[in-house]
């Protein structure tokens, strides 16, 4: 860096420091003064006029959601299809209201079906291909492929309503054709068996995000439940970094929900594309490790990524109950810290057994927007971003980075054997120690 440039930067830095110390006072005073002046000039229009009714706000919210797709970052329906139906879709009445069909009706987490998705005006849904941590080092990969297969078959079974989507453009395409875009996300790096070949296969199978961990450490990343005492790697290992880089190269969204804050920071250090939190809340409002700390939200703004708010009361209010207002509070907190370009919705429906009051199932999304319409800082443009345009922007950026990296060779290092030395009971670590059984 030239001396002149360094000098310029020094001056900028000083200016910036002065801005942040004293500028805030001045600017906020000016803002208050002008607001007060304006309200007086307009004859107190805001205070005199009654707030619009819920019906009016809902109508407006629905208009917004018909313009842009509402995208939800996480739904565990496919896990329940496995648990209840053992993946047998023949008689699965997804196009009926499942609250009237047993055994779904009596389950506490029956939140999703096509009629309710339509009522909630969902434009695109990331379906989670989740398998439990207990499968790690065992048959997690087989089960994950089976769950991905279910998503594909579900889309094939209901082509009138569902459309498989693997690109940002596809989301808009599905929305334009009145279909619900179906995207595949893998929840938990344990699904990929510590193998980049497997990761690439996921991508070819249409998977567009992978959550780096679930509630267990992988051999290359710490999860939030390990924080702070049981961290193994203080974030990502060296090989874990190649996982993130390969995801960047492939064009797969890196999802850092569920990971430890150390892992979040490590990912933000090395990722070459924006990241997502597919279903997480903020620690500022409920201080548990599963949520996002504020410093990471600041870095998320820098990274250009997006945090999608989870609806589980335990994460929203640190208690067993919550309301729609709690969801709004987390949305607003992310907006305050990271900005309106970095917030979205990731309900976690079907994976949660309690729901906030007012957000009982996927038909209720418009009520969030109706609530936010009471708050004048949420412009229509902001609401569209919250609904889906933020995620589409992130997805487009990830695709742009992918295209930019087209000349990069695939990362092909096996995980170092010492990293998995404790987990080889059910693994054939070939080509080591293997005679030649060819032909």
């Amino acid at each position: 860096m030239s001396a002149r440039r360094r000098c310029e930067r020094g001056i900028l830095r000083l200016l910036f420091a002065a801005m942040t110390r004293w500028g805030i006072v001045l600017v906020s005073w000016a803002a208050w003064a002008s607001w007060a002046l304006l309200t007086r000039v307009e004859g107190g229009a805001l205070t005199d006029r009654e707030a619009p009714s819920l019906a009016e706000r809902l109508e407006h919210a629905r208009a917004i959601l018909s313009e842009v797709p509402l995208i939800d970052g996480h739904n565990d329906l496919v896990m329940n299809i496995r648990t209840v139906l053992e993946n047998q879709l023949e008689d699965f009445p997804f196009d009926k209201n499942l609250t009237e069909v047993e055994p779904w009706a009596s389950r506490s987490n029956c939140h999703t079906d096509i009629p309710r998705l339509r009522a909630g005006q969902v434009g695109a849904q990331f379906w989670s291909a989740y398998v439990p941590c207990r499968s790690q080092y065992k048959n997690a990969l087989t089960q994950t492929l089976e769950q991905i297969d279910v998503i594909h078959r579900l889309v094939d079974k209901f082509p009138e309503d569902l459309q498989l989507v693997t690109s940002s453009e596809g989301i808009l395409n599905a929305h334009a054709h009145g279909k619900i875009g179906c995207m595949v996300g893998v929840e938990g790096g344990h699904s990929m068996d510590s193998s980049l070949g497997t990761l690439r296969t996921f991508y070819r199978q249409g998977v567009r995000y992978m959550t780096l961990t679930h509630m267990c450490n992988t051999p290359w990343a710490d999860n939030s439940a390990a924080e702070p005492e049981h961290l193994e790697f203080d974030g990502l290992t060296a090989w874990g970094e190649t996982v993130v880089k390969e995801m960047n190269r492939l064009g797969m969204l890196v999802d850092i929900s569920h990971v430890a804050s150390q892992t979040m920071n490590d990912v933000l250090d090395i990722t070459r594309a924006p990241v997502i939190f597919s279903h997480s809340d903020t620690r500022a409002l409920c201080n548990i490790t599963r949520n996002i700390p504020d410093d990471v939200l600041v870095r998320l703004h820098e990274n250009g990524g997006i945090a999608m708010v989870n609806f589980l009361p335990d994460f929203l209010s640190c208690s067993s109950t919550a309301t729609l207002q709690d969801v709004v509070a987390h949305i607003n907190h992310i907006r305050d810290i990271a900005g309106p370009d970095h917030v979205g919705l990731g309900s976690d429906y079907e994976g949660i057994t309690t729901v906030p009051e007012g957000l009982e199932d996927v038909s209720k999304y418009p009520y969030i927007f109706a609530e936010l319409l009471l708050d004048p800082k949420w412009t229509d443009e902001d609401l569209k971003k919250l609904a889906g345009m933020n995620l589409i922007r992130v997805f487009q950026e990830v695709e742009r980075v992918r295209d930019q990296l087209a000349g990069e060779a695939p990362w092909d290092a096996f995980i170092p054997s010492e990293d998995v030395a404790d987990h080889l009971d059910c693994v054939n670590p070939w080509p080591l120690d293997l005679k030649d059984p060819l032909t």
Binding site: T39, Q88, K138, L145, E146, L250, V298, N428, P437, T439
Partner: protein, 590 residues
């Protein structure tokens, strides 16, 4: 007498370039050179398909799937460590000299990994084959249908196909089976040298008894699901009882991708005569292996030994049911004269000595028989079945779920959720029922051919094949798996930029006045210029705001990537096209 090495190549070059467009029958007494010339002309006019090649396994064993130093387009006879390996018989230059039109790459995983991580190994092997193919776009291309094989034949490229060797790789999961089909796999060898929980193999390495002789009920459902998908069933390595059970179940023709006749060598893997004969009714094809241990039970063999097996299959099943599946790169003892993938024309030159082999018969042997089978497997079934589901294996032995498997959702599902198998073959010999193989749409590979094969080259292909002008080849050595061109008619949307923009006019006007924000904090600056200020209440957790980083992304591509290929774990210092940041400061969370 067989010419070898350089003289053969020179002869081939001279003869190949001057070959006439149509093969001419030569006299059985013609010289070897004349017959070789005729064989080459034949294989340039009609595609040669090989059913089995184990290259991918060698790439894993030798290179651990690291492809930095590997390119299949290079001459591996000159490269360490390949030139010294008795298992290395394949590269693209030799495949093209051998006039191979289509090669099935075997996705093999060892039986030692059964009930462990076979699925992972399988996916890694598929990945490595795809990367190898993608690195040689001018010479080969991955294809998944019989039509594409012919297209690539016209383009002068080797069509690459995937076949999975060993049903143990599936983890007994139909979800995995369907995933493999989606990934481009087009045949599944039901077993390798271990029984799967649902199919018996011909010889085991672990001496475990099978669950049942032949196929179990779940195995039959697997077969029907493969029929539904359009995945070929490969019976090499299966026990003869399994083969019989499959032939009684399947609704499409089967293949033996690399096998020989039990009557000539009683190796356990070879096919008994009754099964060979049963292929007549099934309409399948037996692709003869070139492995000494199968041809002559380990004794030295030569081209005549291979021809003996071919002729035996022809005698027992007919000329419509025989093909070649050498098994190169998985064998270390080859017949004299067929040492590697460049030698296929020698086999056809020898067969031209036998007047009972017509030119049309030789074309069938080379590939038309296989293409007929593939075409039939691709035909939609007359009675579409619903996709089969995960886990029926009520037949799994108790020890199947021993250590490695976590039976999610539950080890003992309620019986009501296991309906009786949705499909039971209505006819124990379905191939006797004519309506199971509907005649429409017309099969272009049925014999006698109802219409001429869509063989594009009207001019003799130069030898070795040069890509024809109408065959586009990508120039990127690492083509991105995602086409950049979009076919969607939907225009790319104009996305909201980071710059806050005024709301567009809304058809449903908001019922309260939109006012300047009463937000005391300055509006957010456009991303990514980060003089980002915090909300009024300073958060003690927050680090000081980052200094405006330089917004210029580092150069991407070119030397920034892959320049340094040292062997350390951090071999590539990849330029990161995001902003440079100050070292992060983590808050102390206690």
């Amino acid at each position: 007498m067989v010419l070898t090495g350089v003289p053969a190549l020179m002869v081939a070059l001279v003869l190949g370039t001057s070959a006439s467009p149509l093969p001419v029958r030569v006299s059985p007494t013609a010289s070897h050179q004349e017959r070789l010339k005729a064989a080459r002309a034949l294989l340039q006019e009609s595609p040669l398909v090989d059913g089995h090649n184990d290259l991918a396994w060698n790439v894993r064993m030798i290179l651990h799937n690291k492809l930095r130093t590997f390119n299949l387009s290079s001459d591996l006879t000159q490269e360490k460590p390949w030139r010294k390996s008795p298992y290395s018989q394949t590269d693209l230059p030799r495949l093209r000299r051998g006039l191979v039109a289509a090669q099935f790459w075997s996705v093999y995983v060892p039986c030692e990994a059964q009930y462990m991580n076979t699925v992972q190994l399988l996916l890694e092997q598929i990945d490595v084959i795809k990367r190898i193919i993608a690195a040689s776009p001018r010479e080969t291309k991955l294809v998944t249908s019989s039509g594409e094989i012919l297209e690539e034949f016209g383009c002068g490229r080797v069509a690459s196909l995937l076949g999975v060797e060993g049903g143990h790789g599936l983890g007994s999961s139909m979800g995995v089976l369907r995933a493999l089909y989606d990934l481009g796999v087009r045949y599944l060898t039901l077993t390798h040298k271990c029984h799967t929980p649902w199919a018996e193999c011909s010889e085991t390495i672990n001496h475990v008894a099978p669950n049942a002789p032949g196929l179990t009920q779940y195995g039959k459902e697997m077969i029907l699901e493969m029929n539904r998908l359009g995945m070929m069933i490969d019976l090499s390595h299966s026990s003869s009882q399994t083969a019989r059970d499959v032939l009684a179940t399947t609704r499409a023709p089967v293949i033996f991708s690399h096998s020989a006749a039990f009557a000539l060598c009683d190796a356990p893997m070879n096919i008994p005569d009754d099964v060979i004969s049963a292929l007549v009714e099934n309409d399948g094809v037996i692709m003869v292996s070139f492995y000494n241990d199968f041809l002559t039970c380990g004794k030295p063999s030569n081209i005549a030994s291979v021809i003996e097996h071919i002729n035996h299959v022809r005698t027992m099943a007919g000329v419509d049911h025989v093909g070649v599946g050498a098994g190169y790169d998985g064998i270390n003892r080859t017949p004299e004269g067929l040492e590697d993938v460049s030698k296929y024309p020698e086999l056809f030159a020898e067969l031209l000595q036998d007047p009972s082999w017509s030119l049309q018969d030789l074309k069938k042997l080379a590939g038309l028989n296989f293409l007929r089978v593939f075409g039939k497997v691709e035909e939609p079934l007359s009675l579409p079945l619903p996709p089969s589901h995960f886990p029926p294996p009520v037949h799994l032995p108790p020890n199947t779920f021993s250590s490695p498997a976590y039976p999610f959702p539950s080890p003992n599902p309620s019986p009501s959720l296991h309906p009786t198998p949705f499909y039971s073959p209505p006819n124990p010999l379905p191939f006797l029922s004519p309506n199971l193989f509907p005649l429409s749409p017309p099969n272009p590979f049925s014999f006698p051919p109802t219409q001429p094969l869509p063989s594009p080259p009207t001019q003799p292909l130069p030898f070795p094949h040069q890509p024809l002008p109408f065959c586009s080849t990508p120039h990127n050595p690492f083509p991105s798996p995602h086409p950049t061109s979009s076919l969607s008619p939907y225009p790319t949307p104009s996305l909201p930029s980071h710059n806050p923009s005024p709301s567009p006019t809304n058809p449903h006007p908001i019922p309260f006045p939109s006012l300047p924000l009463p937000n005391p904090s300055p509006s957010l600056p456009p991303h990514p210029n980060p003089p980002f200020t915090h909300p009024p209440q300073p958060n003690p957790l927050l680090p000081p705001p980052p200094f405006p980083p330089t917004g210029e992304p580092a150069p991407v591509g070119g030397e920034a990537f892959g320049g340094d290929h040292s062997h350390s774990r951090h071999r590539r210092q990849v330029a990161v096209p995001v902003q440079v940041r100050q070292p992060r400061q983590r808050p102390h969370l206690t």
